[in-house]
């Protein structure tokens, strides 16, 4: 649809002018026919949601037994009884899930809305162009909205739709509205889909406006780690998710030749996005090759460790994932804080309309601990000037706030071994044991736990002796944090169409055993290294490993025996044996995009306004598994829920029980695993593949075995199934010392069996499971629930049946 803007005056009429905002022409510039569900409403895709939920049963693990949402309460809902309003525990849990998913969705959508206005203001209405190698350029948008945006302004239609849906969904959470748990979950799935849309809009806007890499497998390696920040300069930290103000600081430094006086490091996803700016040097209005000037200080989980390092001179916060006590931490260390969006203002004075010099003067004299400046350009200039000017003035504060050896010893002596800290530590670190070792002069215990500590600071909050335990960690690891220097591949953006063409068939047939998407934050159950271990395990096995955000940062902090980071060990393409960093949190949309592009580019499906068709294809044929191994936020809940609606299963870590809801299949119920063969419309039982839609693993070892299993799809051909079974069984042998108990249910033909286990497995199938084997021909006479059939076309949607009438 094309809109033409303008106004005209009616002649011969005095004092009358008619203003027309936009003339809308019904001119469709896209040759694909409109699908059935453009801009689906809250209930439009409910049938698809129920298809998912009928197979993958909603499972709740309530975090509390009471509802306190209205004045009737608190109501005890234990044992699924009803509260005063009539809602039971299932319904209440569904409501909480929906609220959480909406929180995450809104965080991304509001980010997108801010960028939309900001980019139009700063850059004007740019053409939406993802380059010659990405022609399917906004697949989520096109799948949901049914339109192709042609310029930045075009994304406004999607944002407006999204915002309307969110209002409807929030309304449903009011007491007296929705009550049935499955419909809450259908709405949560809708909110998750909105989240995918919001993330994609965000990333597309910034890719075009800031000229970020468009699917560059060879995106540059950028520096990561606190040790990369030059302490001879003023160090400015941009912390959060929205690059607008941080980018302005970089532009100011570049335009004023200040890089010899200031260094800029990012924390959390702002870090990744700053390093993506103008790397391709296209027709951008901002300086070329600016991105690699910024450094990645680290992931959000390292914040409290980094702020104690004494390296930072000025902090700009934007939005999302900012620790709520950032001002307290910085005030104590005399680090001026600049709040740059209205999402987080922390009680600071709004100085947007004051002069730069007056704001800088107040900050560098420590007259105020921080300010709010809602104009990104002004915030960027103030931040650079403050970082440079305040540095010498902070010298004393830097040393004052660093624990001395004497203070360290005194703090150790205060410990009474009460273990209150261990009662609240998420990874259950026995801090008193670390202190006991430190008292003996052994700091290795503290050093060893540094990466396992998630930096939540709950230990300090409960310590009856008031020991600053985070400072103890800092003291014991000072050398490490100050010299931490690694490399990370800058976020490359979407998969290119050519990459999808190359891997489409191997993914669908299973010969590339799967796509593993490692995403999320830094709340790992057993430390940051798990991110690296998972990526390496699956890249080495030939999976396509994609990653983003804090997990991409965290996996950068380790090297192999040759001193290479994960990015130097593996290329950055969307291909097997590659590790592909798509970008920041909002770039997670690019992972969902890739799955849709397999359906549309490889399989030729029409994705336009056709969400359930895309999801059905992905669920049945695209062996992808999302892994959020360190998620902490509601955004992670919404991302996972969006992926689930799109047919992508997700594995999460054990702390994720706090999300309360999961989707689990029942492999013991054959009736749950019936699909339609689209060739003739007949029903066919399939093996439970994928077996779960949201799976909580207790350990990384379990997670890795499950990830391999969740890449099984009914469409696998025998070679593909054999390869997938090989990895599933091999991982189980590696981490459990035995084959998994359920491997046999995925076998349809002797050719499906992994070569390394073939004879052993055939014997076991005969002796333990009663299958009849023709040993001469090496094939099964009976046993498998269905034959392997390479042309089998599984679907869950009746309209996909192709049978001739």
């Amino acid at each position: 649809m094309v809109k033409t803007e303008g106004n005209f005056a009616v002649e011969d009429m005095k004092n009358v002018q008619i203003n027309i905002g936009a003339v809308v022409k019904e001119e469709d510039q896209w040759d694909k026919p409109m699908g059935p569900f453009p801009k689906p409403g809250v209930a439009t895709l409910r049938n698809w949601d129920y298809t998912i939920m009928n197979r993958y049963k909603i499972m709740y693990a309530p975090a509390d037994d009471t509802c306190t949402l209205c004045t009737y309460g608190p109501c005890d809902l234990t044992a699924n009884i009803k509260g005063a309003c009539g809602i039971n525990m299932e319904g209440y849990s569904g409501k909480i899930v929906l609220i959480a998913v909406l929180m995450g969705c809104c965080a991304h959508a509001a980010h997108g809305r801010h960028l939309y206005h900001w980019c139009l203001e700063k850059f004007g209405n740019m053409k939406f162009d993802m380059g010659d190698e990405i022609l399917v350029d906004s697949p989520i948008y096109q799948t949901i909205i049914g339109q192709k945006p042609t310029d930045l302004k075009g994304f406004g239609e999607g944002l407006a739709y999204l915002e309307e849906e969110v209002v409807q969904l929030v309304a449903a959470t009011h007491t007296g509205q929705e009550a049935f748990y499955k419909d809450f979950e259908s709405k949560a799935l809708h909110a998750g889909m909105m989240d995918l849309l919001g993330m994609e809009i965000c990333d597309m806007l910034q890719i075009v406006a800031y000229d970020m890499p468009r699917g560059a497998a060879d995106a540059p390696l950028v520096e990561i780690g606190m040790g990369t920040l030059d302490q001879n300069k003023g160090v400015l930290i941009a912390y959060g998710h929205n690059l607008a103000a941080g980018a302005e600081a970089m532009i100011y430094a570049e335009n004023n030749n200040l890089w010899d006086k200031v260094d800029i490091g990012g924390v959390c996803c702002t870090a990744i996005d700053l390093t993506r700016i103008t790397e391709t040097g296209r027709d951008s209005t901002i300086p070329k090759n600016l991105g690699p000037r910024a450094k990645v200080a680290g992931a959000m989980g390292w914040w409290r460790k980094m702020v104690r390092s004494g390296v930072m001179d000025c902090i700009m916060i934007d939005e999302q994932c900012v620790f709520c006590d950032v001002l307290e931490d910085s005030k104590k260390r005399k680090i001026p804080v600049i709040a740059t969006t209205d999402k987080i203002m922390l009680g600071l004075d709004d100085r947007t309309n004051d002069t730069v010099d007056s704001i800088v003067a107040d900050l560098v004299s420590f007259k105020v601990p921080g300010v709010a400046i809602l104009d990104p350009t002004k915030a960027g200039e103030v931040a650079i000037k403050t970082a440079i000017a305040v540095k010498p003035l902070r010298a004393e504060a830097k040393t004052q706030n660093k624990m001395t050896e004497q203070q360290f010893k005194e703090a150790l002596d205060k410990c009474t071994n009460c273990n209150q800290c261990a009662f609240v530590c998420p990874p259950h670190i026995r801090i008193s044991n670390l202190i006991a070792e430190a008292k003996k002069g052994n700091l290795e215990a503290f050093s060893g736990m540094y990466e396992i500590c998630v930096g939540c600071q709950r230990c300090e909050e409960v310590c009856p002796q008031g020991i600053n335990i985070m400072d103890l960690y800092e003291f014991a690891n000072r050398q490490y944090i100050g010299t931490q220097k690694f490399l990370m591949r800058a976020g490359r953006g979407p998969a290119r169409d050519t990459e999808i063409r190359s891997v489409g068939a191997p993914i669908v047939l299973g010969t590339i055993p799967g796509v593993i998407a490692l995403v999320g934050c830094s709340n790992y159950p057993k430390g940051t290294k798990e991110a690296y271990d998972m990526a390496r395990e699956f890249a080495n096995r030939g999976y396509i490993v994609v990653t983003s955000g804090c997990m991409a940062m965290d996996m950068s902090l380790y090297k192999d025996e040759d001193g290479k980071t994960i990015w130097e060990q593996f290329p950055g393409g969307f291909d097997g044996r590659n590790v592909c960093n798509v970008g920041s949190c909002v770039a997670n949309a690019n992972i969902a995009d890739a799955a849709i592009k397999v359906a549309t580019i490889f399989a030729g499906r029409n994705h336009r306004a056709n969400f359930d068709d895309m999801a059905d294809y992905i669920l049945s044929k695209v062996g992808a598994c999302g892994v959020a191994w360190g998620p902490y936020s509601q955004k992670a809940a919404s991302i996972a829920t969006g992926c689930n609606r799109l047919g992508i299963p997700v594995v999460v870590q054990p702390h994720s029980v706090m999300y309360r809801r999961s989707f689990m299949g029942r492999a013991d119920k054959p009736e749950d695993w019936m699909v339609i063969d689209a060739r003739d419309g007949k029903m066919q039982q399939i093996e439970p593949a994928p077996e779960a839609m949201l799976y909580i693993a207790e350990t990384a070892e379990e997670a890795m075995i499950e990830m391999a299993k969740l890449c099984f799809r009914p469409s696998d051909n025998s070679m593909g199934r054999s390869i997938k079974l090989s990895h599933y069984c091999d991982l189980s042998m590696k981490y459990c010392g035995k084959l998994p108990d359920d491997w046999h249910i995925f076998v349809r033909d002797a050719k499906d069996l992994p070569i390394t286990f073939k004879d052993q497995m055939m014997k076991e199938l005969e002796s333990k499971h009663g299958w009849k084997v023709d040993w001469k021909a090496k094939k099964f006479l009976s046993g498998p629930l269905r034959p392997a059939d390479v042309s089998f076309d599984p679907t869950n949607i009746a309209r996909k049946i192709r049978a001739k009438k």
């Binding site: 709740y60 693990a61 037994d65 005890d76 706090m658 799976y695 207790e698 379990e702 075995i705 981490y735």
Partner: protein
């Protein structure tokens, strides 16, 4: 909330505070019991299932103790990658490899046939599982399948269980002795 009568032996009823202190779910919270009482309840059950997790690797002697319980007739669901500990010790007779999450999913349905195909369980006994995860899976059963008795013999006070020890996380000797009491009672 300690139970009234305390038979002789290690006192496992002290310190009934959730191991993660903020895990205060609501009006119904677990009671702490002495090992012999817990053993009697396990013994009385028709379809018990011992569910053990990867924290056994942190205190490997617990594998041997769990094997003793397995030999005493308790089938074992080894969650996460804990089955490796049993494989290494050459004991797999009644040990099943399954994640805690899918296991709990099955446990909430009365029509599930169990790991051995003989029917749903009436008592689950959790041990050696990451606290927050075990707590949440107990919560699932607490709300959605009240026919299964939830027992913890872990070193933590498990607030969403029916029967649990108090916190013994920092008294490994007492804890080991308490588990030994259960083993001895079940062997009788």
């Amino acid at each position: 909330m300690a139970a009234e009568t305390k038979p002789k032996g290690i006192d496992t009823t002290k310190n009934p505070v959730p191991f993660e202190m903020a895990q205060i779910p609501g009006p119904e919270m677990a009671k702490t019991y002495m090992p012999k009482v817990i053993a009697a309840i396990i013994k009385k059950s028709n379809r018990p299932l011992l569910v053990v997790g990867a924290e056994l690797f942190d205190d490997p002697v617990m594998f041997d103790k769990m094997i003793e319980l397995g030999k005493a007739g308790l089938p074992i669901a080894a969650t996460a990658h804990s089955v490796k500990g049993f494989v290494e010790r050459g004991y797999q007779d009644n040990v099943y490899q399954i994640g805690l999450h899918p296991l709990t999913n099955y446990l909430r349905f009365p029509d599930w046939k169990g790991l051995d195909g003989k029917g749903q369980y009436d008592t689950v006994i959790f041990m050696g599982i990451f606290y927050k995860f075990a707590n949440a899976m107990f919560a699932t059963l607490k709300h959605f399948n009240r026919d299964i008795k939830r027992v913890s013999i872990d070193r933590y006070y498990h607030v969403n269980a029916n029967m649990t020890f108090g916190n013994m996380a920092f008294n490994p000797n007492d804890y080991h002795a308490a588990v030994d009491e259960i083993i001895a009672a079940l062997k009788k």
